[in-house]
Amino acid sequence: MATLFGSGIKRREDPRLITGEGSFVDDIKLYGLTYAAILRSPHAHAKIKRIDASAAKKTRGVIAVFTGRDIEGKVNPVPCAWNPPGCDIKTPPHPALAVDTVRYVGDGVALVVAESRAIARDAIDLIDVDYEPLAAVVDPEAATRPGAPQLHDGIPSNIGFTWPVAGGDADAAFDGAEVSVSLRIVQQRLLPTAIEPRAAVASFNKATGQLTLWATSQNPHIHRFLCSLILGIPEHRIRVISPDVGGGFGSKIPTYADEALTAFAAMAVGRPVKWTEDRSENYKATIHGRDHVEYVEMCGSKDGTITGLRTRVYAGLGAYASTAGPGIPTILHGLMYSGSYMIPNIKGTVYGVYTTTTPVDAYRGAGRPEATFLVERLVDTFARKVAMDPADVRRKNMIPAAKMPYTVATGLTYDSGNYHGALDKALGLIDYKAFRAEQKKARAEGRFLGIGLSSYTEICGLGPSQVAGAVGFGGGLYESAIVRVYPTGVVRVYIGVRPHGQGEETTFAQIVADEFGVPIENVEIVAGDTEATPQGWGTYGSRTTAVGGGALKIAAVRVKEKIRKLAAHLLEVSDEDLEWKDGGFQVKGSPGQKKTFADLALMANVAWNMPAGLEPGLEASAFFDPSNFVFPYGTHICTVEVDVETGETRILRYVCVDDCGPHINPMIVEGQVHGGVIQGIGEALQEIAVYDDNGQLLTGTMMDYAVPRASQMPKIESHFTYTPSPVNPLGVKGIGEAGTIASSVCVTNAIVDALGPLGITHIDKPLTPARVWAAIQQANGGAR
């Protein structure tokens, strides 16, 4: 039988989704369903003097109104679950509804439960809140300055943590360096914008004490765990179901107050409750991404050798530390400062800063795009300073394949890779030399072409649980799978991860079908229901296939080991005399003596004739904890033309060479690259969440936040190299975030390259026509 591993078969998720039969949280209806709406603060920072909910309570169809005072002692504050050690972290708990003080526009103030969505929405407008506005501060650097408004007691200068990273002796390297360059980089705040807003439906069975919570979740087991803490309900009485999820990009990792409040309301009113945010609410109340102000430096010698890198980063946390918030700009960011290079001396300080803004947490790439951006911008800036081609500087400093596995100065050990191979392949595909010649010619004609490189290495496949514990992550990072074989030989697999668009219902079935030699139709993958699936930690950090796939493979192999013993017994031979062939175990060289998978599934399940010591039944579970992270890498190169009259950028070509190890389903891998790259291009060219000085979110709807559209985006030329990882049974790395991690700096470098002749050395993202035009004017380059 041909193997399915490596085959770009059509996705099994799709039939329901293309016919409108998908089941998303807001699609769920229950008998007696009521609807919740949350009143949110219109102020960035204010004291709550008084709340009068009497008019709302009197409204026909309103069942209950809850304020922060009403739920005190009943709904605990929302905790932060990632507290990196060694950085004096302070994470003030986030009250599920504000009691005395609101700290961002969108902070929850009251909850209404009503007979219909419309009544609930109308009723929140009838709640009269008397606010005493306080000063706002939205910029993470400004928030640390003397005199800045203070958000929380006991957190002077709004600094929630000061996280150091160091390897080698960076200060000495800079002191003795022939060349050094520095940049101030603003990595703007972004809105994740999963097209499905968040939603929750809760139902409480008073008789059994069982709470069922349907939630838009990338990690239902984490939601169960944290909801248990917030609601004070034992974990085994909470069932979290995450059905089809309409995109997450990190925004559906955190446990928010809103899901817990929905559950609380269902218990309080004795009827099921649904809460669904609308987009404007999503932009205020769902986490944001990035928000760094960075001071970064690189040093080296005139021959292009990089010897040191230093950073000082102000990372906005928002008003409160979100579930994984503090881990993003530290562990997932600062430890990646070596990029794809041998940089012996690294020193960084990351300040986690509270501002009167929506909390910041993981957004596609989560810390790694910011790291790649600053490293790759510095490499280009350094190359310019030493008058070398940026491709040559990369080649010179890249970690050679022969040195893998390689431990970088920040302490991480990169698992495998041929970085030069990906770079050279990308240079060949874009025909680098030819483009440089074309660029030169165009410049003579007054046209500004640019070419940008981005050689990234990222950390994913999170990760060893021991490391998770050591870095303050409030959970494990292993994964789990149960492979259950039915008497008729069909297979169901229950997984702890929760894919939501990444296609593991298909790729995981490919692995299992291969292992057992059964048609893929006989395999079903089940995810998202904590009652059915074993403890897992969710889908994020490009970990699902690397870690979850590892668990799945091990469980499947366990099943196979068992049926080998059974086959040997039934065929009256020893284990070693058997070989797996064409979907069954047969006696070596004797195809007539064979038991198929279906035969063995039946015989194991009926257990009429089991060998001594072998239990009846046929299922296996596995918990897989990888020995290390995986480190996908690659080089992206794009070419652009910048219209210096208008500041508009046109991407001419975008070539990627990614290496995520072997592909289970190449079609799906490529799809992940496309989506990731476009998200990074959106970040580079147009996306930005803007607050005014009063802390009002000016980009509060899709009218104002520039989500990339089909007509604005280029075609991606996606290519690969294939280097297996040694740390998991499939040899796979992750590919969900690589595109985003690589592309924002790739495009930025190309534009800066185009405008180099004008003396422009850096423009902050997003490089909108207005910003590029302003930079050109400022450079006074004389466009003609």
């Binding site: 987009r279 799906i668 989506g675 009218m703």
Partner: protein, 153 residues
């Protein structure tokens, strides 16, 4: 005060009592259980709620249910005929034109309108026709490929 509207939904005559302010998308989802039509924004940008009225694509969050009275509404659930997928549904499946699938119904309904008026669109024409439909997963490339494939089917 609620009003009764009568219209055809996916070929069936339906009668629903609606508030005058009710949006078509809410009536489809909440009253008629046609939850394949999704809501992704509140400012008519995202296009997840796209359905057909009398064969033309409209954003059903931008239409009052009462405006649909007497008209033919087609949702994603009504696109397949006699158990046979529409060419666009097949093409989205074949070309990996969806990932999370949330934008997909609206995307397909918009594309169906495009192909009805322009059976052989260029890549540029496809991209422009879809600019009122947001997808955050696919980067659009395979969606464009799917529409092209469906046009050729």
């Amino acid at each position: 005060m609620k009003r009764t509207i009568e219209f055809f939904v996916n070929g069936e005559a339906r009668s629903v009592d609606v508030e005058p302010r009710a949006l078509l998308v809410h009536v489809l989802r909440d009253d008629l259980d046609l939850t394949g039509t999704h809501i992704g924004c509140d400012t008519s940008q995202c296009g997840a709620c796209t359905v057909h009225i009398d064969g033309r694509a409209v954003k059903s969050c931008n239409v009052l249910a009462v405006q649909a009275a007497g008209r033919r509404v087609t949702t994603i659930e009504g696109l397949a005929k006699n158990g046979k997928l529409h060419a666009l549904q097949n093409a989205f499946w074949e070309k990996h034109g969806l990932q999370c699938g949330f934008c997909t119904p609206g995307m397909i309904m918009t594309a169906a309108d495009l192909l009805a008026s322009n059976p052989a669109p260029s890549e540029d024409e496809i991209r422009h026709a879809l600019e009122g439909n947001y997808c955050r997963c696919t980067g659009y490339q395979n969606i464009v490929a799917a529409v092209k494939a469906a046009a050729g089917a």
